[in-house]
């Protein structure tokens, strides 16, 4: 009997070409487009950098060092037209406002000399036992213009970089002046004061993967995880639709008058859609591994963890199918089910971190994200694909997903019984 039910669900599925397209072509298109878009954004920052128009009017240490450092930095693509000396601050502002440049930076004339004079004055005052006035009018102002369309993360990057460079130069000048003043007052011979500026604290970066695995995260590792999950949860729409169609045309009721339980009817659907989810999963993984490099995208690196990924995919699929069953049972009409399913999956994806990383969310949403099954799935995928974790690390996520699937099934059973008893 169950084989007949499965046979029936397979036939219905393969004859619904629109539904099949939605189940296979759309997720693949989604993964390719989103990965391609994000990869190009990622590359454009790295390869082209943030376009910066520099008006360096200071011909001394500050201006020269900032120019040298930002030119050496991979973050910025520095533009200093030949006639930049002729440019005014207003023109720099207008060039940024018109969107030609993302950032405009003006280093005023005699900035270095101004800093030097001020530092000298301060050092002399300190060494003479005097007090430095807290507010001074002779501060150097580095003017930064930012295109309002520039992302806040880029703005922060520029601010931090310019501040760091300015602070470093200022401290160099302070140290040099201090050394010079002390040398002259105490009559101690002075070697090169620049030696005092040697860096003693260094920064080393490494992506923390588990075990000895070296992981280089890229847009593919992130996007394949996120959009595979999204696609798998989108199965709830055709699934709920198929259930409601069966209910509306009376076939579901007819099945229930035959030697066939509600459980058997649902079981066949779960099996068929589980296979569909699995095929979706393998299709997207295969796309990531074999097709993405042909599209000039980085290849998805599975690193021998297909077994763990497959187990996680089963739990994600069960959660998605459980969700579809619940919607298909509770919704009264096909329209109600399709609207609710699509909007709710988009919301669950949004709060689950599919579009915006959880750490960037406000605290309230960070808490809410913990109850999204897509978040549990995403954590699991990240653990395996990016953090290099094994089955033990993803067990809690798998358990949550299974509990979610069970809760959905129990809710559906309750509704099914309620329809029979109470309506």
């Amino acid at each position: 009997m169950r084989t007949k039910l499965i046979y029936k669900d397979i036939l219905i599925l393969i004859r619904d070409r629109g539904g099949l397209a939605m189940l296979f072509i759309m997720p693949v298109a989604l993964v390719v487009i989103m990965t391609g878009l994000q990869d190009s954004t990622f590359r454009s920052l790295n390869e082209r950098g943030i376009s910066l128009l520099l008006l360096n009017q200071d011909e001394d240490s500050l201006g020269l060092t900032i120019e040298k450092k930002i030119r050496a930095s991979a973050i910025f693509s520095v533009h200093t037209p030949d006639d930049s000396k002729e440019l005014t601050g207003l023109q720099v502002k207008e060039a940024v406002a018109s969107g030609h440049y993302q950032i405009g930076l003006i280093i005023p004339r005699n900035s270095t000399q101004q800093i030097r004079d001020r530092v000298k004055k301060n050092v002399t005052t300190i060494l003479s036992g005097g007090r430095i006035p807290e507010i001074t009018t002779d501060s150097v102002i580095l003017q930064v213009y930012i295109d309002p369309a520039t992302q806040s993360t880029l703005r922060t990057t520029v601010e931090v970089s310019v501040r760091e460079l300015a602070a470093r130069i200022e401290s160099q000048i302070v140290l040099s002046e201090l050394a010079r003043e002390i040398s002259s007052r105490m009559r101690i011979p002075l070697s090169d004061p620049a030696l005092l500026n040697q860096e003693t604290v260094y920064y080393r970066e490494e992506f923390a993967a588990q075990g000895n695995r070296k992981v280089i995260p890229n847009s593919v590792q992130h996007n394949v995880s996120a959009w595979t999950l999204f696609a798998m949860f989108f199965i709830g729409i055709p699934f709920a639709g198929a259930m409601i169609r069966e209910r509306e045309d009376g076939s579901f009721a007819r099945l229930l008058t035959m030697p066939c339980s509600y459980f058997s009817i649902m079981f066949s659907k779960v099996i068929v859609y589980l296979v569909v989810c699995y095929l979706q999963f393998f299709l997207i993984m295969a796309m990531g591994i074999y097709i993405f490099p042909l599209l000039n995208l980085p290849a998805l690196v599975i690193d021998g963890r297909m077994g763990t990924l497959s187990l996680l995919a089963v739990t994600v699929a069960l959660a998605a199918i459980g969700y579809g069953i619940a919607i298909g049972t509770i919704a009264r009409t096909h329209q109600q089910a399709s609207i609710f399913a699509s909007i709710s999956v988009v919301i669950l994806a949004a709060v689950g971190g599919i579009w915006v990383p959880i750490f960037m969310m406000p605290p309230l949403f960070r808490h809410i994200s913990q109850i999204s099954p897509l978040n549990w799935g995403l954590n699991g995928f990240y653990d395996i694909l990016i953090r290099g974790a094994g089955i033990r690390a993803v067990l809690p996520d798998m358990l949550y997903l299974l509990l979610f699937a069970t809760a959905c099934l129990l809710l559906s059973l309750y509704y099914h019984k309620m329809r029979k008893d109470l309506i």
């Binding site: 619904d16 076939s251 009721a253 008058t257 035959m258 339980s261 309506i423």
Partner: protein
């Protein structure tokens, strides 16, 4: 009431839908003997479909007891499902599947497989005139063909009791003739038929036992002849029906 000897025995059956104060079925007691074609007639909203759905186990009763072939519906639904056939009012078929696939799926669920399925198919197909369309998709069928296939699915497992909820709605004269002839021959081969319809003339010719249901209560019961003669003077079933249920249009 002796439920063991009857095809269907109903005792004090009441159904009140949630949010409705008025019962859809109000304390109905009824016995239908085996071998009859029982017609359940009534205007719209009389409670016919509710009653059929309760008898098939699709809906729970608010109170009362129902026995099918001596088996209580509440406790023995699984066994009951093996001896009944249901032809719902809707065309309960899978439109993207062919007629054969529909028959194979529903037949298989009822335990009809392999040679038995083939034999039953050979028996029923010519009767319903669906041999040539067996491998066509149901969504390409005419309304009459769909109705015939809908009935054929219900009759496929050769049930002891066959429930039919308005099986001839919207079909042409030819298809209606085929359907009614088949119901008679099925009944002659030992199947008890429970049938609801709005077509009184059809019911009058087909049924051996009739109950007229209105506002959840049985207001007349007996053979067509008995009901026709139940008034002051003999009349047609339609005249009696209108006299009993009134001429007011029902929703």
């Amino acid at each position: 009431m002796n439920p063991g000897s009857a095809a269907i025995a109903i005792d004090g059956l009441t159904k009140v839908y949630k949010g409705n104060s008025k019962p859809a079925l109000n304390n109905i007691s009824l016995t239908i003997d085996r071998g009859h074609i029982f017609g359940l007639l009534g205007p719209n909203g009389a409670g016919k479909t509710t009653m059929i759905r309760i008898l098939c186990g699709l809906l729970s009763a608010t109170s009362g007891e129902v026995f099918i072939n001596g088996l209580p519906v509440k406790e023995k639904l699984r066994e009951i499902r093996r001896i009944i056939g249901v032809v719902p009012q809707e065309i309960a078929l899978y439109p993207s599947l062919t007629a054969y696939e529909n028959l194979s799926v529903y037949g298989g669920i009822c335990g009809l497989k392999g040679k038995n399925f083939k034999l039953r198919l050979e028996e029923l197909l010519p009767v319903f005139g669906l041999e040539k369309s067996l491998h066509s998709r149901v969504d390409r069928f005419s309304g009459g063909m769909k109705r015939r296939l809908n009935l054929m699915v219900g009759m496929l497992p050769n049930p002891l009791i066959l429930f039919l909820d308005e099986p001839t709605v919207g079909v042409d004269v030819q298809s209606k003739k085929v359907i009614l002839e088949n119901l008679v021959s099925t009944n002659q081969s030992g199947t008890t038929i429970i049938y609801t319809s709005h077509y009184l003339e059809e019911a009058e010719n087909l049924c051996t036992d009739i109950a007229i249901l209105d506002e959840g209560q049985i207001i007349s019961r007996g053979s067509p002849e008995h009901i026709r003669n139940s008034g002051d003077s003999p009349a047609s079933l339609e005249e009696i029906f209108l006299a009993l249920t009134g001429k007011e249009v029902r929703d």
